[in-house]
């Protein structure tokens, strides 16, 4: 499989490290109720179909990526940098 890194272009999957559901980006506030933290840390959907997960371009630009893909067809719909250039104010 290949991922189209927004910085590096299409690359072989062996350059990437898989992490898990993109829900991990939605960190609760420090004083959020315990249930919110439990959900954030431990509860994940396992959809047949569209899903978003996190990949790290470890042997590449070191960007964390949010990959939108279909678990049934294996189609990759989008690969976005977790830190958009706007947010990071950088130049990629």
């Amino acid at each position: 499989m290949r991922l189209n890194c927004p910085h590096c272009g299409p690359r072989d999957r062996r350059e990437f490290y898989y992490y898990g559901a993109a829900a991990y980006l939605d960190r609760p506030s420090p004083d959020a109720p315990a249930q919110a933290w439990d959900d954030y840390l431990h509860n994940r959907d396992n959809p047949a179909g569209m899903t978003q997960d996190l990949w790290y371009h470890e042997q590449g630009c070191t960007a964390w990526l949010k990959v939108t893909r279909n678990t049934v067809t294996h189609e990759i719909i989008a690969v976005d940098a977790v830190a958009t250039p706007k947010a990071s104010g950088g130049m990629a």
């Binding site: 062996r14 042997q59 104010g89």
Partner: protein, 178 residues
């Protein structure tokens, strides 16, 4: 003058196999430049004395013997020159962190195809790509379609050399068939 003896990362003599040469580049100054958020304009201004612009991803810019090679997200390596003072960027000495190898010749691309998962069909001077050399981290710079600079961690220099050497020998053995 330092009283301590400086050693190269590897100290290997060049190898030529199948008309293709693997060699170790001499130590040079490498400075990582990581611009802070929102500093594009100030950085461009600060780099002007070097005759360089901050490279786009997968590219290097060069002026004379000095180049600025994209090396990752929000980061480039200034190679072969002194970084200007007071850049609006994090500036880190990386000179001793890398071993720099050169592979050049008609089989260079065939040798790299044994380890590097990059499509180098359209390789052209000015490309600066992060990838892997088998299991090693890699910054690959295209000097010419048949000449590549390969930078990997200094501590892994022996593995990098040994693996490239092995691939060169196998490529040569294949060539002898035809």
């Amino acid at each position: 003058m330092p009283d301590l003896i400086a050693k190269p990362a590897l100290g290997a003599a060049p190898l030529t196999i199948a008309g293709t040469t693997l060699s170790e580049n001499g130590a040079t100054q490498i400075t990582a430049i990581a611009p802070y958020p929102g500093s594009q304009a100030a950085l461009a201004q600060a780099l002007r004395p070097l005759g360089l612009t901050f490279p786009a991803p997968n590219q290097f810019t060069e002026h004379g013997d000095v180049r600025l090679a994209w090396s990752g997200r929000d980061q480039a390596f200034l190679i072969g020159g002194e970084a200007p003072a007071d850049l609006p960027a994090a500036v880190t000495d990386q000179s001793d962190a890398w071993v720099s190898l050169q592979i050049a010749g008609p089989q260079a691309r065939a040798v790299l195809a044994r380890y590097v998962p990059l499509d180098l069909r359209a390789a052209s001077r000015g490309q600066s790509l992060r990838s892997a050399l088998n299991h090693l981290p890699l910054l690959l710079m295209v000097e010419a379609p048949d000449s590549y600079t390969l930078m990997t961690f200094r501590s892994m220099a022996r593995t990098a050399w040994a693996e490239l050497h092995e691939a060169m020998i196998k490529v040569e053995a294949r060539l002898a068939l035809t």
